[in-house]
Amino acid sequence: MRDTARRPSGPARLTGPALAAAAAGLLVAAAAPAVYAEESAAPAGPLHGATAGKPAGSLELHPDMVVAGAQVTVNTAACGDDDTVAGDATAVGAGRFTLAPGSDEPDSTGRFRVPPGAQPGTYEIVATCDAGGQRVTGDLVVRLTPAAQQMYPRGSVKTGVGGALGPDPVQTAAGVTALAVAAAGGTWLLHRRARGDGI
């Protein structure tokens, strides 16, 4: 999963195996519903999520900030190893999709494409474990323009008012106190000397 995140070309390279796994997952799910029903009785789903070292309730989107028309890869470790996951991207208008377990990792992976007409905003993408029934969500941010066409700021930035330039109030107060002590001491000594001379 991390690997996918770190390599921009990851999803493209994964297409073959992921599709195969997705197809296999669907076939297995269709052929053996009884097996999955049995498994769902045991708390296997949440445990698998926990052992994967991630919060069981997370749905990871790569990328999670896109422009309309972009493809998004979805990962979750919330479901069991062999569990098929139903993805729901209807919020952003991309319909439903299926997440299937990867060939050599516990995460389930799926993909959908954000429709070209999607409006900018934040959309909730939902995935539900077929067998375990857990529901996990993730936020997808759709931006107006791709990075290449984005609005750039102009001009200088007003990030200071000169507050650091004036006298330091603490230091000034300390200085005044020190001078007061000096004045008191000096007065005392002068007073002593005056009295001593007088006797």
């Binding site: 770190r6 750039y152 200088s156 930035v157 990030t159 650091a164 200085g175 001491g185 006797i199």
Partner: protein, 225 residues
Amino acid sequence: MRRTRRGSGRAGSPGDTVIGSVSVCALCCGLWLLVGGAATHAPPQPSAAQAHSASAEDGAGRGSGRPPGRAFALPPSPPDRIRIPAIGVDAPLTGLGLTGTGSLDVPPPGRANLAGWYEAGTTPGETGTAIVAGHVDNAEGPAVFYSLGALRKGGTVEVDRRDGTVAVFTVHAVEVYDARDFPDGKVYGAAGRPELRIITCGGDYSRTTGYRGNVVVYAHLTGSR
């Protein structure tokens, strides 16, 4: 009698000596504190040596080459925190937009240790130019990027991202610009590799118009973890 008293007064009252010493000491300290406290505390400004050099490093910013030390771009993920160990910066990041005139908005000045990033732009670590801005000072005194102008080439900037990764940038230039002659393209323009700009106020200060320019730190991605 008088002689005795005087003698004992000089030699036999260590209290007077102590009080005398303390008074002299306090006088000196007080003067030093007052003079120092009243002096201006202008934030440090970058020297000409920290400006862009004409090396390959500079051209690489436009995607022309593949310099050593360049790291693979990270997928987009919003930043949460910025750390600059060399100048003791460790601050959370808030999202920034644009003002009505198209300039970059700034974080609320009330919170001294808060920086911001340009939310509609590139996220730090992905290919392009990510922009971070923060105050050099506020009405109370120095703020998050007070020492930004003291940052030097080769310094490290770390950005914590929401996907759990830490983008590590290396500074390749620190420059100061007058606000009337601000190089928009150079500071905000697109880049062919993951770059970061850190902006704060700087330059001359005038009582009427405030700081007259900006200090800009240029950094590029050199690693992640």
